[in-house]
């Protein structure tokens, strides 16, 4: 017979025992209740706004809380147009919220505040003599990011790895100006120092002016030399509403071809030394792909044009250089699979031209130098060839060319067991390219350019095909391909078999 004390103990013990299952169920029920409550609150807010969406309101004040270091004049330009004092007609509630929302979006784009700028709306007290019955006050709450941040790390560019240290000083004068100091050393760029000062114009995050200075030294083993660069530039960039980005800038650079290897060819020795380039360039990008590394839909168009040394620009080299890059992707439906199969066909096309111009106000144009000519070939370019593997060569040095065209077609297939949601793909590709030097047509530059462009099509381009694996890491796209060159010209350097590529921008 159980004694009363034992029973009491049993009861006590059973109260103390924590039943795992019951706790779990309780927690789940609590979470569900919270979620339901939040849903209801959201729904209520939407109903409220919905039912009052055409309520006429006037915005009497906008307050930004938590922005100690932001300049008043900077914020004025952003918010003044929204204030009702500066407008003739009253808003409806939904219009007002939309306007303030877009202003908050622009604030976010400046990158001086942390994520999550929240917005509150309140009615001013009716006893306030300066308020009208339709007035609302808008409160924006933001948290400023740290002014100075120091970062070190590793970076992956096209076929290059580097380690860098970066100092970023944000919001220097209170108007989202930023100063960026960067020092890096890498496998190919032996040292690079860069300082950039960037500021938005008229409180518009889409319009920016930047001044930059650069000093770097890059190894170019495919042409047996090292190029040292020192220069500065001034750039203005803007973005249109449809998402196209433009950039116009002036750059002045002192280039030095130095550090020649022992077996450098005579042509590279001829081009060794200093040259100064003073040029104006324009870049236009329209990126409508749905993924930067393994797109299944959309297109990318990019053009870069540069004019150097002509007229008042002076310098030591004069040319007009133009480069075009397009790429597109279409999904391929597989008959047996419903919906998006994950298989896509991507294609890319690149072309460029270097047109020599007379220097300054002279009358005859100079031939191009190795610093300015294009290089073609490599794991991110025309696969199946070594870096700088295509084009004119002297001995083992790639001299570069003045006119090129390259294209590729890739079929990206998700692995059968892993599926299309992972960043891993199987790739089948075929790509081709042709890099030519301008022929000498006795001083008639236009004729020689036309003849060389015509020469692009007179025989098959150098091409290679193969298959491989693509991995789209958030930082870069990694590829491991097995390729075979099919057509080449004598002297061009091919890569039979495995080739590894890392980069941001693949053909």
């Amino acid at each position: 017979m159980a004694s009363p004390v034992d029973q009491g103990d049993d009861l006590f013990e059973s109260l103390q025992k924590t039943d795992e299952k019951k706790l779990e169920e309780k927690a789940k029920a609590l979470a569900e209740k919270e979620a339901a409550y939040n849903e209801k609150a959201k729904q209520r807010l939407m109903d409220l706004i919905g039912s009052n969406s055409t309520l006429p309101v006037t915005i009497s004040s906008i307050r930004l809380i938590g922005a100690k270091h932001t300049r008043r004049s900077f914020l004025d330009r952003l918010f003044n147009p929204i204030l009702s004092a500066n407008r003739d007609a009253p808003y409806t509630l939904s219009e007002a919220l939309e306007q303030v929302g877009s202003a908050a979006d622009r604030l976010r784009k400046f990158d001086i505040y942390h994520e999550g700028i929240s917005m509150f709306v309140d009615r001013p007290s009716p006893t306030d003599p300066s308020s009208t019955p339709t007035d609302i006050d808008v409160y924006l709450q933001a948290r400023e990011r740290g002014r100075i941040s120091l970062k070190t790390g590793t970076d992956l560019g096209n076929v290059e790895g580097s380690a860098y240290g970066e100092l970023h000083w944000r919001n220097i004068f209170g108007g989202a100006e930023s100063l960026n100091l960067n020092a890096s050393a890498g496998t190919r760029t032996r040292s690079a120092y860069q300082a950039t000062f960037d500021t938005p114009i008229l409180s518009d995050p889409d319009k920016r002016v930047s001044v930059d200075a650069l000093s770097s030294s890059t190894l170019k083993p495919w042409a047996s030399h090292e190029e040292a660069l020192k220069g500065a530039g001034l750039k203005y960039s803007w973005a249109t509403k449809s998402g196209m980005k433009h950039q116009v800038g002036y750059t002045g650079i002192w280039r030095q071809v130095t550090g020649l290897a022992a077996n450098a060819s005579p042509s590279v020795r001829n081009d060794a030394g200093d040259s100064a380039k003073s040029s104006i360039s324009h870049t236009w990008v329209a990126d409508r792909r749905n993924h930067p590394f393994i797109p299944t839909r959309g297109y990318l168009m990019k053009t870069v044009s540069e004019i150097a040394g002509w007229g008042p620009l002076q310098g030591d080299v004069a040319f007009w250089k133009s480069e075009l890059e397009t790429s597109g992707a279409i999904p391929i439906p597989i008959p047996g699979i419903k919906g998006d199969s994950g298989v896509s066909l991507t294609g890319g096309l690149r072309a460029g031209m270097l047109y020599p111009l007379p220097l300054g106000f002279a009358s005859t144009s100079q031939p191009s130098r190795i610093n300015d000519r294009f290089q073609l070939g490599g794991p991110t370019d025309v696969r199946g060839f070594k870096i700088g593997g295509l084009g004119p060569r002297d001995g083992s040095d790639a001299l570069g060319g003045d006119i090129f065209a390259a294209g590729s077609a890739n079929l990206l297939i998700p692995f059968p067991r892993v599926g299309k949601d992972t960043p891993l793909r199987l790739q089948l590709f075929a790509n081709a390219g042709r890099l030519l030097a301008l022929k000498d047509r006795g001083g008639n530059t236009q004729k020689s350019v036309y003849n060389t462009i015509a020469q692009l099509g007179d025989s098959l381009p150098s091409m290679a095909a193969g298959f491989g694996v693509v991995y789209a890491h958030p930082v870069a796209r990694f590829e491991l391909n097995f390729s075979l060159p099919l057509v080449m010209r004598r002297g061009e350097e091919t890569r039979k078999g495995l080739q590894f590529g890392v980069g941001i921008n693949f053909l």
């Binding site: 002045g252 002192w254 030095q256 071809v257 130095t258 550090g259 020649l260 022992a262 077996n263 450098a264 060819s265 005579p266 042509s267 020795r269 001829n270 081009d271 060794a272 030394g273 200093d274 040259s275 100064a276 003073s278 002076q314 310098g315 030591d316 031939p367 191009s368 130098r369 190795i370 000519r373 084009g391 004119p392 060569r393 002297d394 001995g395 083992s396 001299l399 570069g400 060319g401 003045d402 890099l435 030519l436 030097a437 301008l438 022929k439 000498d440 025989s459 098959l460 075979l484 060159p485 099919l486 057509v487 080449m488 010209r489 004598r490 002297g491 061009e492 091919t494 039979k496 078999g497």
Partner: protein, 309 residues
Amino acid sequence: MPPTNSAEDEDTSSPQTSFSRQTSRVRDFFSVPAPVKTLFNSVPILTYPPNDLPQRALKPTRVPILYVFSTKEDAAAGRPSFNPSCLKWQAFLNIAGINHRVVSSSNHASPSGSLPFLLPASASSNASQESFKPIPSNKLIRYAKEHGAIIEESTSMRYEAYQSLLDHRIRSAWLYTLYLEPKNFSSVAYPLYVSSTSSNPLVRASISYQLRAAAEAELLKQSSIIDTDDLYSEADKAFEALSILLGDDPWFFGNEKPTLFDASIFAYTQLLLDENMEWKERKLCRALRRRENLVQHRERLLVRYFGGS
């Protein structure tokens, strides 16, 4: 005792063979498998003739090319270079009778980091990589001997002593008067060494600064301070010693033909006595002009090997 010998042989040889067996197995594992090899051998399917070279590329030459500091026009005409070490070897090749072309260049093009260097002729169209190897100045004597020149080399102690006069005293005075005398720098060194590198004033200013700093560093290697009077007086004494050495002979050390030493002397006398150089601070030039036989030595070499004044 044969049996033990053979036993020893077996012991020493069997580990070797098993080791070599293992390495060859590893090598086979990493080497290209046979079917892939046949695939590699069958590509590329089509090979076209090589691409044409750009206009600035150097066409293969039959005549060796000497890269020196010079102006384009002077180099085309074969006139003396304006740099002593380049002029020394240019005169040497002329004396040795080696036919060559002269091209103006800069320090960046040289395999040793400084001019001059010689690019040998590519004899045939399918010349191997060897023929493209440029020859730096310290191997030029051997190159000249290989190409049929008869070089007399004096190795006496006197020769070494006088060579050191040139390399230290006269060279220091030359460096000072060319780079560190402000009037001379702007009228002689700037148009010759700096203007030819680039047309941009910022680049030119940077290169001028680098040249002057390098000259100063070079002079500070010899002594802890730069004393101009001391430098000039040492050079004057060196010129006197050389003048006494030459005496009434046409060439140094009583030789019948000029040698490398004559070329070394000529490198400095030509540049100091040449009116086209436009020296403004002429102290060193005057010191040289006082030694009549050195002036005549220069004229003799100029007329005989550079075709007149």
